[in-house]
C-alpha cells in the first residue's frame, strides 16, 4: 500500500494508535473468514467505536483511494470480507452495544458488532428472541447477518434476516451517514433498507440496526427420525410440506455426517443409518400433538427405522447440539472443506442429492450433506486436502457441477452464505448479463468509487471462460 505510514498515522489520530493494527502477525488473523481457502491480507485493521469513527475512516480511505471492508465476527462462508486488493479492514466488534430493547413494540436497536446470540439472551427472559439463527450464532454479528442476509435452521417458518430488519443507519461509501427504513413497519419511497440487506458489504457500512424481536413460541415438539436411505428422508420432507404443515425447522444429515458426529460426540445415532431428519414444530401447544402424529405417520411410511421425540427442553437442546455440532466434526474427515449452499425446489431434493452422490463418486472427492431440507437449501460439504493440487482441481470441478445441477433444476447457487469471492464465477449460471447489469448499476449508485468491499459478487471475463459461456459485450 502506497502511503501506508501516512494513512496509519492519520487513522491513529482519528481513533487512537491502540485501535490500529499494522503488524503482519496481527493482520494474519484478518486474512480470511470461515471460507479459509481464500486468503488475502489487509494492510491495516482499524477498530471503530462509533458511527463517527466509521464515517471518518471511510472519508480517509477515500482521500487516499484505498479499498475498505467492514468485518464483524469473521464467520462468513464465502470470503465476503476478503481484502482482495489489500486496504483497510474496519473491524466493528467493538460497536457491540444493544442500544434499546422495546419488547412491547417488538424492536431492538443494536450496533453492528452485537453477537447474534447475545441479543436473544438479552431479551429471552421477557419472552422474546431474535429469529435468524445461523449455526455460527455464538460468534457471528448482527452487522454480518445483515450484510449476508443470513439464514439458519428456523428460516423455514420465520424467514431470513431481511424479514427481521426494519431500519438501518449506514455510513455510505463516501462517508455520509444515511438512514433507511425506521422503527415502524414501512416508510414511504423505495425500500432501500431491503436493498441494503444482503448487499455483502458493497453498499456501505451498517452502523446501527433496528431489528424485529419475535415472541417465543408457547411450545415446541422436536422429532428426530432415523431413515434407511437419504431418498426416503428427502421424500418424507416433500410429503410433510405437501401435507399442509410448515414446521419451524426441517433439517437433514446424511450417513457420512451421522457417522462423523457420532464418533466425535456420541449422541447415540446408529452408525449405519442412511439419513437423519430433525423436524421441529413450534407455536401453540393445543393442536400440536396432532401435527406430531401426522409427521410420525409420514416418517413411518418412508421406512423410518427409529423415531425419537424430545421429551423435555434439555433433550430438545441436545438434538439441536447434534445438528449444530456437525461442522465442528468435519476436521476428523479431511484437513479442508468447502460448504456449498445451493437451493433447489423441495420436490427436486431426492434427484439433486443423487446427483451430488454421483459427482462425489466421479471425482473421488467425499461429500457430506447436512442441510436445511425444508427450504431445499443443500449444504454439500466437499472434503479434501488443500495441500494436494490435484484434489484442489477436482474440488473445483465438483463445485461447478453441483452448482450447475442446482441452477438446472430451477434453483440458485446460494441460499444463505452469499456469493463473496467464492461463487462469483458461477453467477452467470443463474443471471443473464442484463440481469447483472441492473445490479452493477445499483451498486455504482451506492458505491461509485468501488472502494467499498471491491472484487465481490460479480463475474469476471475469466468466469465466463471457465463456464464455457460467451462473455457479454455489455
Amino acid at each position: 500500500m502506497i502511503e501506508k505510514n501516512r494513512i496509519t498515522s492519520e487513522l491513529s489520530d482519528l481513533v487512537g494508535a491502540a485501535n490500529v493494527l499494522t503488524d503482519s502477525t496481527a493482520l494474519s488473523v484478518y486474512e480470511c473468514d470461515g471460507a479459509t481457502l481464500f486468503k488475502a491480507s489487509p494492510d491495516i485493521v482499524v477498530f471503530a467505536e462509533s458511527t463517527e469513527h466509521v464515517s471518518k475512516i471511510v472519508r480517509l480511505a477515500n482521500k487516499f483511494s484505498v479499498p475498505f471492508i467492514a468485518r464483524g465476527g469473521g464467520t462468513g462462508l464465502s470470503g465476503g470480507m476478503l481484502p482482495v486488493n489489500g486496504g483497510i479492514i474496519i473491524a466493528l466488534n467493538r460497536m457491540d452495544r444493544i442500544l434499546e430493547i422495546d419488547v412491547k413494540n417488538q424492536r431492538a436497536v443494536v450496533e453492528p458488532g452485537v453477537v447474534n446470540l447475545l441479543l436473544t439472551q438479552a431479551v429471552e427472559d421477557r419472552g422474546y428472541y431474535f429469529a435468524p439463527d445461523p449455526s455460527s450464532q455464538k460468534a457471528c454479528t448482527i452487522g454480518g447477518n445483515i450484510a449476508e442476509n443470513s439464514g439458519g435452521p428456523h428460516t423455514l417458518k420465520y424467514g431470513v434476516t431481511t424479514d427481521h430488519v426494519t431500519g438501518l443507519e449506514v455510513v455510505m461509501p463516501d462517508g455520509e451517514i444515511v438512514e433507511f427504513g425506521g422503527y415502524v413497519e414501512e416508510t414511504p419511497g423505495y425500500d432501500l433498507r431491503g436493498l441494503m440487506v444482503g448487499c455483502e458489504g458493497t453498499f456501505g457500512i451498517v452502523t446501527k440496526a433496528i431489528v424485529r424481536l419475535t415472541r417465543k413460541p408457547q411450545a415446541y415438539q422436536t422429532l428426530l427420525g432415523v431413515f434407511e436411505t437419504i431418498d426416503d428422508a428427502s421424500s418424507a420432507v416433500s410429503k410433510i410440506i405437501g401435507a399442509g404443515m410448515i414446521p419451524a425447522a426441517l433439517e437433514m444429515m446424511d450417513s457420512l455426517v451421522i457417522k462423523t458426529v457420532e464418533e466425535a460426540f456420541h449422541w447415540g445415532f446408529p452408525l449405519d443409518a442412511g439419513a437423519v431428519l430433525i423436524v421441529e414444530l413450534d407455536g401453540i401447544s393445543a393442536g400440536m400433538r396432532h401435527q406430531a402424529e401426522q409427521i410420525t405417520e409420514i416418517f413411518n411410511s418412508h421406512n423410518c427405522r427409529e423415531i425419537h421425540r424430545a421429551k423435555d427442553e434439555t433433550d430438545r437442546q441436545n438434538i439441536w447440539k447434534s445438528r449444530k455440532s456437525a461442522f465442528g466434526s468435519f476436521g476428523r474427515l479431511a484437513p479442508s472443506y468447502i460448504t456449498q449452499d445451493g437451493v433447489v425446489p423441495r420436490t427436486q431434493l431426492p434427484k439433486v442429492l443423487r446427483r451430488v452422490a454421483e459427482i462425489s463418486e466421479k471425482y473421488s472427492i467425499p461429500i457430506a450433506n447436512v442441510f436445511h431440507a425444508g427450504d431445499g437449501n443443500i449444504h454439500p460439504v466437499v472434503l479434501f486436502d488443500e495441500r494436494d493440487p490435484d484434489q484442489c482441481e477436482r474440488v473445483d470441478a465438483v463445485n461447478m457441477e453441483i452448482l450447475t445441477v442446482c441452477a438446472e433444476v430451477g434453483g440458485t447457487i446460494t441460499g444463505e452464505h452469499g456469493i463473496g469471492v467464492e461463487k462469483m464465477d458461477y453467477m452467470p449460471l443463474i443471471y443473464s448479463p442484463e440481469d447483472l447489469l441492473v445490479m452493477t448499476t445499483v451498486r455504482d449508485i451506492f458505491n461509485p468509487s468501488k472502494l467499498c468491499n471491491p472484487g465481490k459478487i460479480f463475474p469476471t471475463t475469466e468466469s465466463y471462460v471457465k463456464l464455457g459461456i460467451e462473455s457479454p459485450t455489455v
Binding site: 449476508e148 414511504p188 423505495y190 444482503g198 437451493v343 441460499g415 456469493i419
Partner: protein
C-alpha cells in the same frame, strides 16, 4: 384538436399490440389517473409487446403508467401527465405451480382471486387480503406493496415474493431473485421493485411463497366502552403467545357490515384445537378489559367482515383515506388524538391494524371547492404531524384530486431521498414511468 392525434396513436399502437390490445376509448375512464384520462390504454399479451410499446413510447416521448385492473391508480401525487396506460391484464397465465414446492410462478396480470381458486384445489393459498380482493392483480399488489390485515401473521410481498421478471424502460427484460424459498445470490432487487409503484419497470412475472390453507377460520368481534380499553386488550394479545392472523380495531364502522364500535376484530386460523384454545384466551383478555360483548363469526358473515376489513382503504371519489405507520404502543394515543381533533369531520372511520402499527383514517369531503380542499389538507397535515412526532409517518392512500393538489401524499423522505432519485434516474433515464406520482416528484 387532440382527437386526430389520439387516433393516430391508437392506429400505431394497434400495429404493435393488435386491435384487441387497445381498450376502446369509452373505457379509458377505468384507467383515469386523478382527473386525467390516458391518451390510450394498451393491453399487451407478451413481454415482446410490452417492449414494443415502451420503445414506441420512448420514441414518441410519451409517459407510461403501468397498471393491472387499475385499482391502485388513485394512489400517488397527481401525475405531470398521463399518456399511455399499459395494463398487464393480457398477461394472465399461471406459469408454474408445484404444490410440493409450496411456490407458484404467475404472470403479473393474474388476479389474486383467480390464483386463489387454483391454489385452493390443492389446499393451498397465497395469504394476501388486500383491497379490491376480486379485481386486484398480483402485479399491482406487488408494485403497490398492497397488503391486508393478515400480513400481521403471514407477511406481505416483501416476505413472500421470491423473484420476478420485468421490462425496463429501455425495453430490456430482466429478472431478479429466483424461484426457490431462499436465495442470496446477488442483490435483493425484489425489494427495490416491491412498492415502487411502477416507477422502475413493468413487472411481468412473479414467483410467490405459498401457504397451506388453514383447517378452520374464525373471526371474533369484541366490543368495548372505549378505544383505550380496546387498544389495551389488543396490545396484551400482541404481547402474548397467541398467534392472531389479524388484530384490528374499528371505530366509526366498517364498509358493508354492521359493527358496533369501538370493536376489536380478530382473526384466528389453524387447527381446530389451536383455534378453540386461542379463542378462550382472547375471551379472557377481553373480559379483563371490560369488553361489552364477544361474538364469534364463521361462514358467510365472517367472509363479509373479512372482506370489509380488506376493503377499508378502497378509494371513493369523496373520501380521504390516510395510512399511518406507528409503533404499536402509539396507536391508541394517535387514534384518540385524531378523533378529538377531527370530531366534526363527516363519516369519520378508523381501522387500526394494531399488531402492524398501522392506522387507516378515513373521512369524507362533500364538496370539491377550494375551501373544502384546503381544510382537508390541513387536517391531513395535522395528522401527519401527530404521526411524525412519535417517529411514524403518514401517507394519503386516496383523496380527491383537488385535495392532492394541496398536500404531498407521501410526505418527507429524509436522508435517503438522494439515493432514491439516483436510482430512478439510472433505471428510468427517460423518466418514462409515472412522472411525478411517487415520492418527492419521482
Amino acid at each position: 384538436m387532440t382527437e386526430p392525434v389520439n387516433n393516430r396513436l391508437r392506429v400505431e399502437l394497434s400495429q404493435l399490440v393488435g386491435e384487441n390490445g387497445i381498450l376502446h376509448d369509452d373505457q379509458d375512464n377505468l384507467y383515469g389517473v386523478d382527473d386525467l384520462l390516458p391518451k390510450a390504454v394498451t393491453l399487451p399479451d407478451s413481454v415482446g409487446e410490452i417492449r414494443d410499446v415502451l420503445n414506441y413510447a420512448a420514441d414518441n416521448k410519451l409517459s407510461v403508467i403501468p397498471a393491472g385492473s387499475g385499482t391502485k391508480l388513485g394512489i400517488g401525487n397527481p401525475p405531470e401527465r398521463v399518456d399511455l396506460v399499459v395494463s398487464t391484464l393480457g398477461l394472465n397465465e399461471v406459469l408454474e405451480y408445484e404444490p410440493g414446492d409450496l411456490t407458484a410462478t404467475v404472470q403479473s396480470g393474474v388476479r389474486l382471486a383467480d390464483l386463489q381458486a387454483k391454489l385452493a384445489e390443492n389446499g393451498q393459498c397465497l395469504p394476501f387480503d388486500p383491497p379490491y380482493l376480486n379485481r386486484a392483480t398480483l402485479g399491482g399488489i406487488v408494485a403497490a406493496n398492497s397488503s391486508g390485515p393478515s400480513s400481521l401473521y403471514y407477511g406481505n410481498s416483501r416476505n413472500r415474493v421470491l423473484g420476478m421478471q420485468l421490462v425496463q424502460s429501455n425495453g430490456a427484460a430482466v429478472k431478479c431473485g429466483g424461484k426457490v424459498v431462499k436465495n442470496v445470490a446477488g442483490y435483493d432487487l425484489n425489494k427495490l421493485y416491491i412498492g415502487s409503484f411502477g416507477t422502475l419497470g413493468i413487472i411481468t412475472e412473479i414467483t410467490f411463497k405459498l401457504n397451506p390453507l388453514p383447517e378452520v377460520e374464525r373471526t371474533m368481534l369484541i366490543t368495548f366502552k372505549s378505544v383505550t380499553q380496546a387498544s389495551r386488550a389488543a396490545i396484551e394479545i400482541a404481547d402474548s403467545q397467541l398467534l392472531p392472523i389479524f388484530l384490528n380495531l374499528i371505530v366509526g364502522g366498517a364498509p358493508s357490515v354492521d359493527i358496533v364500535d369501538p370493536c376489536l376484530v380478530i382473526g384466528i386460523d389453524g387447527h381446530h384445537e389451536t383455534v378453540d384454545w386461542q379463542m378462550n384466551q382472547i375471551r379472557a383478555a377481553a373480559n379483563l378489559n371490560d369488553a361489552t360483548g364477544v361474538e364469534v363469526k364463521d361462514g358467510a358473515y365472517q367472509r363479509d367482515v373479512r372482506t370489509s376489513m380488506s376493503a377499508f382503504p378502497e378509494s371513493n371519489p369523496q373520501m380521504v383515506v390516510c395510512k399511518a405507520h406507528l409503533r404499536m404502543t402509539d396507536v391508541e394515543k394517535f387514534i384518540t388524538a385524531a378523533l378529538d381533533q377531527c370530531s366534526d369531520l363527516l363519516d369519520l372511520r378508523v381501522l387500526g391494524l394494531i399488531g402492524n402499527g398501522v392506522v387507516y383514517f378515513a373521512f369524507s369531503v362533500p364538496s370539491a371547492d377550494t375551501a373544502s380542499a384546503k381544510f382537508a389538507s390541513i387536517v391531513i397535515a395535522e395528522l401527519r404531524n401527530h404521526a411524525r412526532n412519535v417517529g411514524g409517518n403518514l401517507i394519503v392512500e386516496s383523496a380527491p384530486t383537488s385535495i392532492k393538489r394541496h398536500v404531498d401524499v407521501w410526505g418527507e423522505i429524509g436522508s435517503s431521498l438522494k439515493l432514491m432519485q439516483q436510482i430512478k434516474a439510472r433505471l428510468d433515464p427517460l423518466n418514462l414511468f409515472c412522472p411525478g406520482r411517487f415520492v418527492s416528484g419521482i
